[in-house]
């Protein structure tokens, strides 16, 4: 019924473009700080030291690239799954402006050292308040669209979208409670071990509500759309959904194993982390089973390649994560480079690959043009996968090596290596990691070039052009 015109898609374009800009910033900063670890003379105090830049890297990645593009796709998917025009396109346009203001403010204030120090919740209270406003208007817009929908039953993607909306709201509000001292300084309202426990309840569930639920919503939508075959089981999606959002909230303390947080909290976190394998792999199997009879599309259809590699990295991530959440293994590996290796498989492998596929899917539709170069899409794919693997694998080896050295003892019980002896062994791995980052950055340049060419000089295509 010619609804393409009826949907508010301009704002989707805006969010996609800006999220890519912030993603580029995040990766560029990532490369810079990885070089700073290898060559400390690349720190330029006071504004450009590792300590101040690393939070900008994580915030630009999670909030700029991650949340920015999720906003685009939530708008896109929700309208289509409800067969309803966005409740308020005007509000969404305002949201785009506010989004960019907030991310820019975040970058500036963090460089100036205005920092609450809590990971992924570093923003000082005035900026954090703007984030809350942003999230409220976003949620209202999506939920109102769902409420007045024309499609009665809600597809699983909408479930994940709604869970993410309330989940992020609860987490962000609780972890940001503070005592303001001035406009640029506040203290956490919680102290010591309590603060730690609140922080990692937040920190780990930011992974659930930002880096798991939204990409799963996208995956459940774009995989069937790309293959042309429905998802294997909607009901399995439903079971996995409730299990996932129930279990995730118990697991924050696996970041705090062996710390003074009560033992029973740590043990619960450990048990639930292992249980989480089930719902995580529910989604993985749903993806794999949907490919039944369609595996040839891995070769013919680049969207499927991105999506299936993405869900595979998710599957690996959700096996590695629970193993790290076990006390014995955590005691060995925690606080080493193993953990950044793990995190980047999730962000660069799982989340970003799904986002790339989603962008490649909707970009030609938004601009009414065919993708400019399929060859470049493939080049982007391989550079991204190889860059990420170099990053993660070098960090896993570095982590295991340093852990082994840190725990090595002499026959008389004394330590075999000093801290510095273990640290200087990491330099070669840090060089490899930076190299992996540069390759990933190159993949983004190919990606962006291809998109620009598509928008400006791609062949005009029928709206429903399937790659």
């Amino acid at each position: 019924m010619g609804q393409q015109e009826g949907y508010a898609d301009d704002v989707v374009k805006g969010f996609i473009i800006w999220s890519i800009v912030w993603g580029l910033v995040a990766v560029l900063l990532g490369v810079l700080i990885s070089l700073q670890l290898a060559w400390p003379q690349l720190n330029f105090p006071p504004y450009f030291t590792y300590g101040r830049l690393r939070p900008i890297h994580t915030n630009a990645g999670i909030f700029g690239w991650g949340i920015g593009s999720f906003m685009a796709f939530f708008f896109y998917i929700t309208q289509r799954l409800t067969r309803t025009r966005l409740w308020s396109p005007k509000l969404a346009r305002f949201q785009l402006c506010l989004f960019n203001v907030v991310i820019a403010l975040a970058a500036i204030t963090l460089a100036m050292g205005m920092n609450r120090s809590k990971e992924y919740a570093e923003l000082e209270w005035p900026v954090a308040l703007l984030v809350v406003v942003l999230w409220v208007i976003f949620s209202v817009n999506i939920i109102m669209t769902i409420v007045k929908r024309r499609e009665e039953q809600m597809y699983i993607s909408l479930w994940y979208i709604m869970a993410a909306l309330v989940g992020v709201a609860v987490l962000y509000l609780v972890n940001n409670v503070g005592i303001p001292i001035s406009l640029t300084k506040s203290y956490s309202a919680y102290a010591g071990a309590n603060d730690a426990n609140v922080q990692w309840w937040y920190g780990h569930n930011a992974v659930a509500m930002v880096l798991t639920a939204p990409p799963l919503a996208l995956f459940y939508y774009f995989l069937p759309k790309s293959t042309g075959v429905p998802i294997y089981s909607h009901r399995m999606g439903v079971i996995a959904f409730w299990s996932l959002i129930f279990m995730y909230l118990w697991t924050g303390a696996h970041h705090l194993l062996w710390t003074p947080v009560p033992d029973w909290v740590q043990t619960l976190a450990m048990a639930f982390s292992i249980m989480l394998i089930a719902p995580s792999w529910g989604a993985v199997f749903n993806g794999y089973f949907s490919m039944n009879g369609q595996w040839h599309q891995m070769r013919d259809n680049y969207l499927v390649k991105f999506l299936i590699f993405g869900i595979t990295f998710y599957g690996l991530q959700t096996l590695q994560g629970p193993s790290q959440a076990v006390r014995t293994f955590s005691g060995f590996i925690h606080y080493t480079d193993w953990v950044p290796g793990h995190v980047h498989m999730g962000t660069l492998g799982w989340v970003s690959l799904v986002l790339f596929a989603s962008i490649y899917y909707i970009f030609p539709r938004l601009y009414g043009r065919e993708i400019y170069s399929v060859g470049m899409v493939n080049l982007h794919f391989w550079l991204a996968v190889i860059g990420q693997l170099i990053f993660s694998i070098s960090m896993w080896i570095a982590g295991v090596q340093q852990a082994a050295m840190l725990h090595a003892t002499n026959p008389d019980g004394s330590l075999h290596y000093s801290f510095m002896e273990t640290m200087i062994e990491l330099y070669p791995y840090w060089h490899a990691r930076a190299f992996g980052g540069v390759i990933y950055f190159a993949s983004l340049l190919v990606f962006i070039y291809n998109l620009i060419k598509t928008a400006t000089s791609g062949k005009p295509a029928p709206v429903a052009a399937r790659p």
Partner: protein, 287 residues
């Protein structure tokens, strides 16, 4: 039916995430605040220490340094007694961190003399040759104290106007060093942990020149930053003509001199390496 009622669905989803939240995040407030876990010796931060802590936060030191020692052999030997919940009651926010690119700092207080920290902050590589820590020489600028009393009040820490007055003329680096020296030093763990050396203290390498090179290597790495490459002394005293008996030099190196700012190297190096370095130092003097 759920898939047709978005508002009921939203409420149910919220309830679902709140169950784990209540049990593992809200409930522990009761356990962690248990008065039985209070430690009387742990004192709030002084105005100077608190300002130092805020600079630590501003510079994002927690991105590379943790502040919690786990009850694991390697952690305890490397960093000191494992962390207790009662030691963090004044920490808003907590600064446990998540990555040890640099060493843990939970018990850095009292490990080195102030002078070591001043030199190290300004130019880390001058003290620890292959360190990748950025230089923080720019902290040698006046400390901004405009908000200090408001901060102390907000956190309910005791202070007097004289304390605030005393901050005049202090630099940010002064505050940072004061904070470093406070970390983990409230409970008397160093004394408790001081290794009792059992057995006869006899230098097993006396007059053994074959281990001199090894002793020198250990000295260069662990001792030279404070006692000088040529044992001439810098932050620590000169060792060039130390006339203490071998056993005494061993005891000091192994167990440290908390009052004098001499760290204990026993846990980190072990008896054998300590003897080798003692042998090197003493050989220097006998020469």
């Amino acid at each position: 039916m759920l898939e047709k009622k978005p508002i009921i669905f939203l409420l149910l989803a919220t309830a679902t995430i709140l169950i784990g939240t209540m049990i593992t995040m809200v409930a522990p407030f009761k356990w962690i605040n248990d008065p039985k876990l209070k430690i009387a010796e742990v004192k709030p931060y002084t105005p100077l220490q608190l300002e130092g802590r805020d600079i630590y936060i501003r510079e994002g030191c927690n991105n590379c340094h943790t502040q919690t020692v786990r009850p694991l052999l390697a952690d305890v030997e490397r960093y000191g007694d494992y962390s207790k919940v009662g030691e963090f009651v004044y920490d808003q926010p907590f600064l446990w961190g998540s990555r040890r690119t640099g060493p843990d700092l939970a018990r850095i207080g009292g490990k080195y003399p102030d002078a070591w920290h001043y030199k190290h902050m300004a130019d880390p590589q001058s003290m620890v040759p292959r360190s990748n820590m950025p230089k923080y020489a720019f902290l040698q600028r006046p400390l901004d104290t405009a908000l200090t009393s408001r901060k102390m009040k907000a956190l309910h820490f005791p202070y007097t106007p004289a304390d605030i007055e005393a901050l005049k003329g202090k630099t940010e680096l002064d505050a940072m060093v004061a904070y470093m020296q406070k970390l983990g030093s409230d409970i008397p763990w160093r004394k408790a942990a001081q290794a009792a050396v059992i057995g006869e203290l006899k230098n097993p390498y006396q007059e053994d020149k074959t281990v001199l090179a090894e002793g020198k290597a250990i000295y260069d790495k662990e001792c030279a930053q404070c006692h000088g490459k040529e044992l001439q002394g810098e932050i620590g005293p000169s060792l060039a003509d130390i006339d203490k008996p071998d056993a005494e030099v061993f005891r000091i190196t192994y167990g440290g001199l908390p009052a004098g700012g001499m760290p204990a190297f026993g846990d980190a190096l072990g008896k054998d390496k300590v003897w080798k370095v003692v042998n090197y130092i003493k050989y220097h003097q006998r020469r």
